[in-house]
């Protein structure tokens, strides 16, 4: 695995709900290190954990058992927008970045002992790219290979149906997209995903706005709709474009924060350190 595909450390802001023991603080009680509460021996028939001092202090004379918080596993999903605009190749190939990200997140999840799943959407959910939560690295690598060759079709309405493929309990969902769709749709997507812990990863490329030529005629074609537009590039227009992207960035941040998640803008290719920093900052 190359350097930038290294796993990162993630942690969750809230205790996870999961039956299976794992690496993240959870709501389940059971075997663990962190004391949670006392319970009666009848309720928790585990004589190894009888606390004699607490039992003596109990006015009813019941045996008190120390109940520990159990660390639970969480399902990690990557929900990727595979619309046509994700095929943009600027300084970095967005699909390549997506595949790198997929492998890195999968490696991190498997390292924690969590299950990893993948859902891709364009106009609808792409069933042939669907990977249910599991721990098989080989299948994930095969999927990453396939993503490179996939023909991307326009549309991003599939994100609205994605929650059907997600588990009912709370999962960690990395929402990877360029978010080049109307903010109203973004709002709807986030409303449907509000059960889950969503990490929005905004996949942009600096070539979209700042690496354009200074002067000259430049025709751009929308990858989604195929519409064309002619631009007479000049420093003034480039400045306006950069301002438009800055405005878009602040709008996205505003919308994501309204749903309790902080977006991470990935503009220079994927680096695992960026995600590590993101989770450190979030925990702090």
């Amino acid at each position: 695995m190359s350097a930038h595909l290294q796993p990162f450390q993630y942690r969750l802001p809230r205790p996870v709900v999961g039956v299976f023991p794992g690496a993240h603080p959870g709501q389940m009680v059971g075997n663990g290190q962190l004391f949670k509460r006392y319970d009666t021996l009848i309720a928790r028939p585990d004589p190894r954990r009888i606390d004699l001092r607490a039992s003596l202090l109990d006015p009813f004379g019941n045996y008190q058992v120390r109940v520990k918080q159990q660390h639970s596993a969480v399902d990690v999903f990557v929900l990727a927008d595979l619309s046509a605009s994700m095929g943009f190749v600027g300084n970095h190939d967005k699909r390549r970045v997506l595949a790198d990200m997929l492998l890195s997140i999968a490696a991190s999840a498997l390292e924690y002992g969590d299950s990893f799943g993948f859902i891709a959407c364009n106009e609808g959910a792409l069933t042939d790219c669907y990977l249910p939560a599991g721990k098989h690295m080989g299948r994930i690598q095969a999927l990453a290979e396939r993503l490179q060759k996939l023909v991307l079709r326009p549309g991003s309405a599939g994100l609205l149906q994605a929650q059907r493929y997600l588990p009912n309990h709370r999962a960690l969902v990395f929402l990877v997209s360029d978010f080049h769709f109307p903010l109203a749709q973004l709002k709807a997507v986030l409303q449907r995903l509000n059960r889950h812990d969503v990490i929005p990863l905004v996949l942009w490329d600096q070539a979209e706005y700042s690496r354009l030529p200074d002067w000259g005629l430049f025709q751009v074609q929308d990858m989604e709709t195929g519409k064309r537009r002619t631009l007479w590039l000049r420093p003034g227009l480039k400045r306006k474009m950069e301002q438009a992207f800055a405005l878009r960035r602040s709008q996205l941040q505003h919308h994501f924060r309204a749903f309790g998640c902080e977006p991470l803008f990935i503009e220079n290719g994927y680096r695992a350190a960026q995600l590590t920093q993101y989770f450190l900052r979030r925990a702090g």
Partner: protein, 327 residues
Amino acid sequence: MNFGMEYPWVLAGLLLCLLPIFRLGAVANPYPWLAILPPDPFSLAIDALIRLCGVLAISGLTLGLAGAYLQEQQVERIGHGAHIVMLLDRSNSMDNTFAGKAPHAQGEESKASAARRLLNQFVDHRQHDLIGIAEYSTSPLFVLPLTENKAAIHAAIDATALPALAYTNVSKGLSMALEFFDSRPVTGSRIVLLVSDGAAVIDPDSEAALRELFKQRQVSLYWVFLRTANSPGLFEIPDDPRDDNAQAMPERYLHLFFNSLHIPYKAYEAETPGALQQSVDDINRLENRPLHYFERIPKQDLSTRCYAFAAVMLLLLLGVKLCEARP
């Protein structure tokens, strides 16, 4: 401004003008989302201009291929001049010199050739005149209708170099000359210039008809009488009253007849080429009334201009192409 096409079916190529409206010849760079780009009126204007250039270039080429031309047109003008009908005598005697013999020696000139030379000069002096030519011999000959085409007039005058025909029948010639003015607007002067070296008797029926025609047509008459030496002149009164009849002196009686028409009439007796020159100059000077006429502008080929226009547009587009930025 009337346009015409040599090959109108080529105009179907104008449909190609739609091409630049749908596609610009620029490289389409894929871009994830156009809606995020700020609106830019300047770019829109440039875009529209480029498309317009493309449309104009293609339409210019198509019109050029279709062979666009401006149809022949007439421009109304006011000038000075006259409608002149030259009525030339083609009788045998015109081929003789003023001395009354066939030209043999070097420098001798027949009456016909002298008339030809001077009439050609006369035509060159009269810029805006409409000139028609009729000839007469035994019968009248229709040569050239009233026209402003100088080359045709010269050619018609030069054609009198052919050997002359038979006799002299002036009355039919005159009526044909007067018919030239039929259905012509009365503008400027109307002149019949009769060039002859003799006359003939006009019978009373023709005489009455001619009187009426001259009145109707409001024509002035100039008679250049190329008098051969020793022949009776126009104004000569014979010594013997018995000779004073139309058969013996047809010239004198024709002159009297013309005088009795009450139209502007002038007779010149030209006995030498110099005198003929004098009479032509006289007409040249006198008949210069304002003339309302139409000048013809010939058909103009526009395809060269179309190609030049298209070339300019293509050069502009080439410049635009060179301005295209590469990411």
